[in-house]
């Protein structure tokens, strides 16, 4: 069998084809997963693609590999390959409609696959939700560190502000709490007003970002790094000293509103908004400010406006992500938003790639899954992940997928025929 021809065959599968194939393989897992796992001698279905199993109980590994091949590998490969023609036609037809229709169909399929996949185990559900939140945080930090070229250490601070703002609002307004007293609004309204709560949380985080954004007019680089670091310490310390939100003990009892669908929708909104932002004129102005501030001014870029919008926009999404984080965990504690969080988020941004939406997604998903997969190694996990990152930094200093534009239309287009056919497709 000619390997190269086979690979070319797979390269003609559009995203729609992969999503349908993934969906079907998840259905297969739901239908026959448990009996198959039993037949292969596994105690239960491999929850996270067998990666946890591989380190914990290596003797079960062959079974897990066979399971993965039967449930995921073979069906996905077969369906994607054989259905490529139909999928390409369907993708082409969808692309003739407005772009949002095609995007909605793809996202709907993706969500359906994720929902069914995570429905099989609570652990999957939790990991998935945290991963999606990590994508939001990483992407928003990439706006400052990648697109704007500053070295900002303030992101855990923005997250903390968002997390606490959202928690206080939802706990105060919709639940009975020993400090905040009776619910001010009927709890039944809560899930519907939750988006509003998150938006307010994001706005509060954005306002707090002024503390970092305004000094950034006069200073850059290293001194701004210190200012942002000081900001992070100040926020953490401030929350530790605010008795009304529980101080260092933290604040619990957030309602359980951040299900997978909510987190997924917000992540999609975040990716969409940030991608549009960085591809807009203002986004290009961010790049200009990064590369040469004086030249940017000469080209009529309002650097102050650009910086402040960049910071506030990134902080807004970090705040929203913080709010979601608080409601997924249903407990927040100022200790969560310290140096450790900073190292984690920075690692995700620089691992994935600067100045790139793809990169942030790759970085956040990669580090999150790696963190879960290496959990059985206990503390050695914190030797392997840093080593990996050092290697990535040495061989790809700007990250795995840096400086790559994310064009939704190119992602969704059918993949049959040569590249130039993309131009032949109707636009709009």
């Amino acid at each position: 069998m000619d390997v190269r021809r086979t690979m070319r065959g797979f390269s003609q599968v559009p995203l729609l084809g992969w999503l349908v194939a993934a969906f079907i393989s998840v259905v297969i897992e739901i239908q026959w997963g448990t009996p198959l796992a039993q037949a292969l001698g596994l105690p239960k279905i491999p929850v996270l693609f067998g990666v946890v199993l591989a380190l914990k109980q290596p003797h079960l590994l062959p079974g897990a590999v066979v399971y993965l091949l039967l449930v995921y590998g073979l069906p996905i490969a077969l369906i994607a390959r054989l259905g490529a023609g139909i999928a390409n036609q369907a993708a082409g037809a969808l692309l003739r409609l407005p772009l949002w229709v095609s995007a909605a169909v793809h996202l709907g399929l993706f969500y359906a696959a994720l929902e069914l996949w995570s429905g099989l185990s609570d652990y999957r559900d939790l990991v998935l939700r945290f991963t999606l939140i990590a994508v939001m945080v990483t992407l928003s930090l990439n706006v400052i560190n990648g697109y704007m070229g500053e070295f900002s250490c303030s992101h855990p601070g923005f997250m903390a502000v968002g997390a606490y703002a959202a928690s206080v609002l939802s706990v105060d307004l919709f639940t009975k709490h020993r400090v905040f007293g009776e619910a001010l609004l009927p709890p039944a309204l809560g899930p519907f007003l939750f988006p509003l709560v998150l938006i307010i949380a994001g706005l509060v985080a954005a306002v707090s970002a002024l503390v970092v954004a305004i000094p950034s007019f006069r200073t850059r680089g290293d001194y701004l790094a210190i200012i942002s670091l000081a900001f992070m310490f100040i926020i953490k310390s401030l929350i530790e000293n605010l008795e009304i939100v529980g101080g260092a003990r933290g604040l619990g009892g957030q309602p359980d509103w951040a299900g997978l669908s909510t987190v997924f929708l917000w992540t999609v909104a975040c990716v969409w908004a940030i991608n549009n932002f960085v591809r807009s004129t203002l986004g290009k102005a961010l790049n200009a400010v990064r590369d040469n501030e004086t030249a940017a001014t000469a080209m009529t870029v309002d650097t102050r406006y650009t910086k402040i919008v960049g910071f506030l926009f990134a902080a807004f999404w970090a705040g929203v992500a913080g709010g979601l984080f608080a409601h997924v965990l249903r407990y927040v504690n100022p200790g969560t938003f310290g140096i450790q969080k900073l190292a984690e988020v920075l690692a995700m941004v620089y691992f994935g790639g600067l100045n790139s939406v793809y990169g942030s997604i790759v970085g956040a998903v990669g580090i999150s899954l790696l963190g879960e997969a290496l959990r059985p190694l206990e503390i050695f996990k914190w030797i392997i992940i840093p080593l990996l990152l050092i290697l990535v930094m040495i061989y790809r200093p700007t990250g795995l997928v840096a400086f790559k534009e994310f064009d939704p239309k190119a992602v969704l287009r059918p993949k049959n025929g040569p590249e130039r056919e993309r131009d032949a497709l109707p636009r709009g």
Partner: protein, 307 residues
């Protein structure tokens, strides 16, 4: 008044740690334009190496192989630990920074951060979670001067820190090596053309910075003998703030900023509840940077860098 003086003494001691660690940060930062985020953990490694060296020396003198008075053991511990830790520093430079010479600075900052995590976890994996006590090498004597209690450890700490800072100042300004370092901070590109080995100077910078961090680690262990693998994190980040606050110009700048940070922290804790220490201390740092955005001794966007 005596409360003020007492706190002044405490602040001097506390600032000594910051000053010594900030010196290492500042040297690497001035010469290579890098944030060495692993530096805080080198401070921790230095303290642990100090424990090892002290244990060996104590065992040797107990068996009669070495007849040394306690103060000599302390001096030897500090010196040996400084030498050993400087090798750790050079190793960190070789693995984490040299391959990234041409890469964006932020990437090198990330490798530093990751090496720091590896050092912490490596320590935890090697020695376990149990905390280690630094052996008490000298008996504490308390002197009372005008109602202020001063221990001999405090005197040792402050004097050694000042001596080391002065020695570093001398080294950087009066020796040929120091000249090469200043030249590299001044112009990164021209220095190799003058026949100076960039890698050699980089290794020397890391070695010196790590030696100072090791000294800080042992001095810290004299005052607070219980060590844990994560002790470097908070100190490292705070000394980093001090190093940048001092400005990228002089050994003195970093030293002074280190002491200043110590003073701010101690006096904030004297006036306000101690839980507010970080909050107020960092707010002051923020204000300083808003008023003087390039630190105390820094020059705005200047190509002219002096160490």
């Amino acid at each position: 008044m005596s409360l003020f003086l007492q706190n002044l003494v405490n602040a001097l001691q506390w600032g000594s740690f910051y000053a010594l660690i900030a010196l290492g940060y500042s040297m690497v930062y001035s010469i290579l334009m890098l944030f060495n985020f692993a530096h805080g953990d080198i401070f921790m490694v230095g303290a642990y190496i100090g424990v090892g060296v002290a244990a060996v020396l104590l065992a040797a003198s107990a068996e009669g192989a070495l007849a040394l008075p306690p103060w000599a053991i302390l001096v030897l511990t500090i010196l040996l630990a400084m030498v050993l830790t400087s090798f750790v520093g050079m190793l960190v430079e070789r693995i984490g920074y040299r391959p990234l010479r041409g890469a964006p600075r932020a990437s090198a900052a990330i490798t530093g951060l990751m090496i720091g995590i590896i050092l912490e976890t490596g320590n935890l994996a090697l020695l376990g979670a149990q905390r280690i006590r630094f052996p008490s090498l000298i008996d504490t004597t308390v002197y009372e001067v005008a109602g202020v209690f001063i221990t001999n450890t405090k005197i040792i700490i402050v004097v050694v820190a000042l001596l080391l800072a002065a020695g570093m100042h001398f080294f950087v300004h009066k020796t040929k090596w120091g000249l090469a370092m200043r030249a590299m901070a001044f112009d990164y590109v021209a220095v190799p053309l003058m026949g100076v080995s960039v890698n050699g100077i980089a290794a020397l910078t890391f070695a010196l910075g790590s030696a100072l961090a090791a000294a800080a680690g042992i001095l810290y262990a004299l005052a607070y003998p219980v060590l844990d693998p994560y002790m470097g994190i908070v100190f490292g980040w705070k000394a980093f703030v001090a190093a940048i606050l001092g400005g990228r110009v002089s050994v003195m700048g970093a030293t002074l900023a280190g002491f200043l940070l110590g003073f701010i922290e101690i006096f904030v804790a004297m006036i306000f509840p101690s839980t507010l220490r970080d909050l107020i201390a960092y707010s002051i740092v923020l204000l300083i940077l808003i008023v003087r955005p390039h630190g105390f001794f820094g020059e705005p966007y200047s190509a002219r860098l002096r160490l």
